[in-house]
Every structure is written in C-alpha cells, then in structure tokens.
Symmetry: C2
Subunit: 414 residues, 2 copies
C-alpha cells in the first residue's frame, strides 16, 4: 500500500462540479489500495475576491490580518472536498494548516515551513481516512495564522509528502505533464515520462511554468518523487526524480528546450580592461534591484573590453539610463541595447556525458541562417540569445535536430 499526496490547484477546484471531479479521482486512488493525503488551494477567483475586500479598506493592510483573511479561501475548499468525499462513502477529514499543524516562521504572507506534526495525520491514515489539508497556510509559534505566499500549495504538498515519507507527491494542474518544449510553438512537442529535478529547475526557471520552483527545490532536497498530471484528463503525467544509476547510461542527451522572450540585452563597448570593471558596470544595476541574467565579456583590441548582459524587459529603460552614466564615468566607447531578443536553452542531464551538443546546436541554427548574439552554458544547459523574430524557427529546428519528437521510447509510468 502506497502513501500518495495529491495537490489540486485553484482551477481544479474552481467550481462545485470540479470539486466533485477531484473527489472522484481521490476516491479512486484510495480504492486502488493507497493511503491518500489531499492538498487543495482556494477555488479560483476566491483569493482575488478576498484581496479586493482588503484593498477596499487599506491598500497596505497589516500582513498578519491578510493571512487571517486569505487563509479562509483554502478552508472553504477543504470543507467542500471533504463533504464530496464523505458523500461517496470515502471517509475524509479536513485540516487547516493550524490544525495539522504546519509550523512556520512568523514572516506573514511569505512564511517558511519549519516543522510538520505527523502524529495526528498518521492516526487518521491508519483509520483509513483521506486527509484533506489546506494548502498555502500554517501557524507560527504564537498560534498566529501564516501563509506561504502565492503558489504555496505546491510547497505544502511537497512538505507533507516529505514529513510523511510519502511514496509520491502528485501535482494536478491544467497541463498533462512536462513537455520537450511549448506545444504552442512546436506541435510535435512530446510529453516527457520522466525528468530530473535539476532539469525541471532549469526548465521551470526558463519559463515552463508548470510547477513553482520552490516546490521543485524542496522535493529535490527531500528526495520526494514528484509527478505532474492533468486534473481534467487521464494519463501518467511526468515523474520528476533523481536519475537512477541504471538509467543514467541511456539518458537522452537533451530532455527539453526552454525559451523566453521577456529579456532585453545591453552592451557597453570600449571599456578599459582593468580589474573591478565588471563590478563597476553591474554594481549600480544590482543596487537598483534589477536582476541580471546572462553576462558575456569579450576582450577587444587596444586593452579595452566589450561587456554584454541581459535584464528583464520591464527593467530595460532603467538599466540603460544607469549604464549610460557608468559609461561616462569609465570613459567607455559606446552603449547600445536591444529589446527584441529571445533566449533558447537546451536542457538535459545527458549533456554531461556527451560532447558536441553545443556545436550541434550552433550548426542547427546556422543552417536556418540564425545568428547567435550571446552564448552561456552550465553543466546541464546551453543558452543562446538570438533575434526575437527567429525564436519559433530556432526552437522548431532544434526540436527536430535533436530528435525530440519521438526519439525517446515511451515508458509506462507505474
């Protein structure tokens, strides 16, 4: 008998009909002989309704009371889902974060989980009950209600799975798994049966927003097998785990292609090539809370250097102003920028043991006449920046060039 933690987000429990649908899925999982803990979010729209009420009173309401307010959203869902389960003859009991209890620090609206008491949950599970737990919330040492911040229900599910040593943590979403790339761009994109935590983190941070990064990190840290599935369709979804020894040998080189078009590029040329120059350029950017993603530095002629980096497009104008001031200070030759860029990344743990991925990537893009403006690599990722208008073409060429449509044999997930 396996212990499964299932998490259903706001869209999955957005109406009474959908809550009934969730009850059906939970009930079937239990009937198959499993112990089940369910974590739910607020019904979609409910959190915004509550936030609107608060803003009607104060644009910056006290955070302790914000947590008291918004935590009611999940409390409504746990009660309704428990009713729907009980109606089906499936014994169930709801728990708020405080009742479990999920102990957090006192950082209201963005609290972190410190500890989870499992004794009471164990007793319920031993008695054959399904536990329905409110996601996204906890309680601090003083008994004050806290919330984990937006998207925190995924974290609750993973933390419960870790505390209970669950066999699997299943995250139900509106997609049926993690894909080799965005199916809206490449129609041949294929659902992955498996992906490693590291790959998932690279995919997620690059814009494949299937899971909250924090919950993936958490699952990786505590080695909780994580599965992404659809609330609305049947299917095995995608299992996120550490690579197993015997699988590492036959790991595909590339698992997926991530991309985004929300960055902008800034270049400063003819900077005197002295120690500390990188700090002088990026210091003011960082102090203005602008996040820098890729950084490339080339040595130029006559003891000067060229320096290029990317920021979020929303920060482009601000960063350009700062950079122009720095250029004047340093006596640099010129400052330029470009908002119409896109980043494409190949991600795969197989990359570690296979040489030549980078050159094949560049070849693929060259064949399509796509010029590469920047390159950056990590152990399991290669990213390039290209002209935004070639994004779709580039992603499709790479997807096909690395045989992602069907190279990997489909394996049935258990």
């Amino acid at each position: 008998m396996a212990l499964i933690v299932q998490k259903y987000g706001g869209t999955s429990v957005g109406t009474i009909e959908r809550i009934e649908n969730v009850a059906e899925k939970v009930s079937r999982t239990r009937d198959a002989g499993n112990s089940v803990v369910v974590v739910v979010s607020a019904m979609s729209g409910e959190t915004n309704r509550l936030l609107d009420l608060a803003r009607g009173i104060d644009q910056n309401p006290t955070q302790r009371e914000m947590d008291v307010l918004v935590s009611t959203g999940e409390q409504v869902t746990i009660a309704l889902l428990s009713m729907a389960l009980t109606k089906r003859g499936c014994p169930a009991r709801s728990y708020t974060g405080g009742q479990v209890k999920i102990l957090t620090d006192s950082a209201h609206t963005k609290a972190r989980i410190l500890d989870i008491e499992t004794e009471r949950m164990r007793a319920d599970l031993d008695a054959g009950r399904v536990l329905v737990v409110a996601g996204f919330q906890g309680v601090d040492e003083g008994g004050n209600i806290t919330t984990l911040g937006r998207g925190g229900s995924d974290t609750t599910a993973v933390a419960l799975a870790a505390a209970l040593k669950a066999d699997e943590c299943q995250i139900y979403t509106d997609v049926d798994g993690v894909y080799t790339t965005d199916p809206r761009v490449v129609s041949e994109a294929r659902r992955l049966d498996r992906i490693t935590f590291e790959e998932m983190l690279e995919m997620a941070s690059l814009g494949s927003k299937v899971l909250q990064i924090r919950s993936v990190e958490f699952a990786g840290k505590y080695n909780v097998p994580l599965r992404v599935l659809s609330s609305f369709e049947e299917g095995p979804g995608t299992l996120i785990t550490y690579e197993e020894e015997d699988q590492a040998m036959e790991q595909p080189e590339i698992s997926g292609i991530a991309f985004n078009r929300d960055e902008a590029k800034l270049t400063i040329t003819g900077v005197p090539d002295r120690p500390g120059v990188a700090y002088k350029i990026l210091g003011p950017i960082g102090e203005s809370n602008i996040e820098v993603d890729m950084i490339v530095q080339n040595v130029g002629a006559d003891d000067t250097t060229d320096f290029t980096f990317t920021v979020h497009r929303n920060d482009y104008e601000k960063a350009l102003g700062l950079l122009e001031r720095t250029a004047a200070d340093l006596g640099a030759r010129s400052v330029s920028g470009d908002k119409k860029i896109a980043k494409i990344s190949l991600v795969g743990v197989g990359m570690r043991s296979h040489a030549g991925i980078a050159s094949r990537m560049f070849e693929c893009l060259a064949k399509e006449g796509i010029n590469i403006q920047m390159i950056s690599t990590s152990e399991i990722k290669i990213s390039v920046v290209i002209d935004e208008k070639y994004l779709e073409l580039g992603v499709r060429a790479l997807h096909s060039g690395f045989g992602l449509e069907g190279a990997q044999e489909e394996t049935i997930s258990s």
Copy 2:
C-alpha cells in the same frame, strides 16, 4: 477604565463601508478610555453563500465540515475589521474562536461553550490592543472547529464578557433598543432605557426578536449587563440588568406589550373528567414534536371537561388530526380549532407588587368590544388570546391604557 465587549451582527458589517463605520465606533469607545473586545458575525449574505456551496455538494453534508466551512465567514470579518482599526491608528488583533480559545463541546453546528481562556486576551488588552473575535465559533477538545448555531455571535459576546468580567456587553443591531411594543403597530411606542433580564426573556420569547433568548439567559446567569444599541444611529439604547433594590420601588407596573399571531387554538369538549386525561390529550402532541404554548382547562357540566391549547400555526393541521383521534378514543363530545387568533401579553416585574393589573387589562379590552378567548398568567406576565382581527386595536388600547407612551421618565444611561 471600563472593559466593554461590543458585538456587531451581519447587517452591521455587511459592506466595506459598514465595517469602516464599526471601526469608527470601536475606535471612539477606545479613545474614551475603555478597553474594548469586539465580536463580529459574518458579513450579511456570506453564510448563505457558503451554505449554498455546501448544498451544491450534499443536501445533508457532514456537520464537522459544515463548521469548517461556515466559520470562514466570521474569519473574513475579523481580518477586515482589524485592518480598518489599524488603518485608524487603533492597534487591533483578530482571533478566531479556536485561537482565543473558546472551548466547546463537540456538538457540531450547535455546540455549547464550556470554557474560555482569558490569559492571551488579557495580555493584548493590557498592551492597549483592541481584540476582534470571531463570533459563533469555537473549538472542541480535539481541536476540531465547532459553531454555536445561528445567532450564536450574541452568545459569544456575552460569554466573553462573563469570562473577562466586562463592565458591559453591548449588542449592536438594526434597532436602537427595546420598545414598549412594536412601533409598526403603535406609533407611540417608546424605547425603554432599562428592562430586567426576566422581562426581556418574556418579551423575546413572545416575538420581540431583538436578541437571541439564549444570550439573554446567559447574560442573566452570569450577571453581565447587556445593552442593545443601533449600529446606524447614535443613542443610549436599552440596558438589560437585574432590577436594583432602590429602583424596585418605583418600577413601572408594565414595561412592555408583546404579541404574536403565529399560534393556532385547538379545543376538545366533553372529555370525561378523570385523572390523566390531560396527559392523554397532550401526550400524542408532544410525541410528534409539536410544542404547546398556552393550556386552559375548564370543568364543564355532567362530569366532563373542556380543554383548549395553542400550538404554532404550522403545526395546526397535524395537531388537529392527532386530537381527533384522541377524541374518538376518549369518547369526547367535539373537537374544534381556530387559526385566526392572536396573543397579547403584558410584561413587567412591577406586576408582582401591584394588584389589579389583570382586571385593568380586561377592562381595556372590553371597552373596545374585544372578546377574550383564553387567559394565562405568570409572575411577570399576563397573556390573552383574542380574535386576530382585533390585534392592533387591542395592543393600541393597552399601550395607551397603561400609559406606556411617556409615563416613565427618561433617564440618561451612562
């Protein structure tokens, strides 16, 4: 410095604007040098919205989960009111029933309060904070959320006032106090400055639905001075206390006139006058969970007796059917009934020391040509049943006959 418990019902906190209005009142009470504990209900309409969600899943949902669900209504209000107070520079902190904690038995949806922890509240009050407590809810020994049933917020307020030994428990409603009778029937009806717990109980149970009976009983039991005031208008309201020794002498004979028209009368005549006959008649009625209000028995001629009683109009047909069966068993002469009756009651603790109230009452009604069908008396109440069509006429005649328009000097409540 006085300790005041204030309770605001659903209508008083029904919109953001009204919550701001409540914050204003609470803030002023604190600024006047008082310690304040506020008890609030769910925003009007919210409880019904939640009940509709539950009914969408199950017509008879599990009661434990009903409590988890509906208790979110008050939790939303405590958060919003605390925000509104904090915005005004009035330090405030919200508490759910479980956080206080208000310990109840485990009778979900109709729990009774067993104990209230005051330590944490005292610390907040000592620190100058206003406490905003969710009405209507508590927590049982096992940490499960319970609710006190509809109208339970009044009970929460009184119980908190008793536990904290508050100087006054103020119940804010949509009326500005307790009246000598219903102002919709008698335009000269006058707000009472004071009324005793006993009188209030008689008035409340007779249809003056200003306060929940249970909360009045509770306040009387723990001797908590209770004040009824309007959320929307300024004014001293009506103070409900025990009569004080020095006041008893000048107590008015009659404090108010209560009435209702939701009863029906049933009569069985020519019943053999034997011991146990009353039980034989009323036994089947009680077993069918029909509540009997007034009972009158007259000895008739030839060793038989006539027996009349009243029930709620909704139970009339059912009671009549039962009575006809009993009549056949007992060999009674006839069974008759009347749904078009009304009951009028004079209420007043002064009645104890003044003879002749009853005869003056009958004289008043006789002058208007109103026939009295039944009479029943208690220590502080005389009730008569008359033809429904004379109800308004009778109430007005009595209100004027006993000088209720202005006989009592207005005293300024402190």
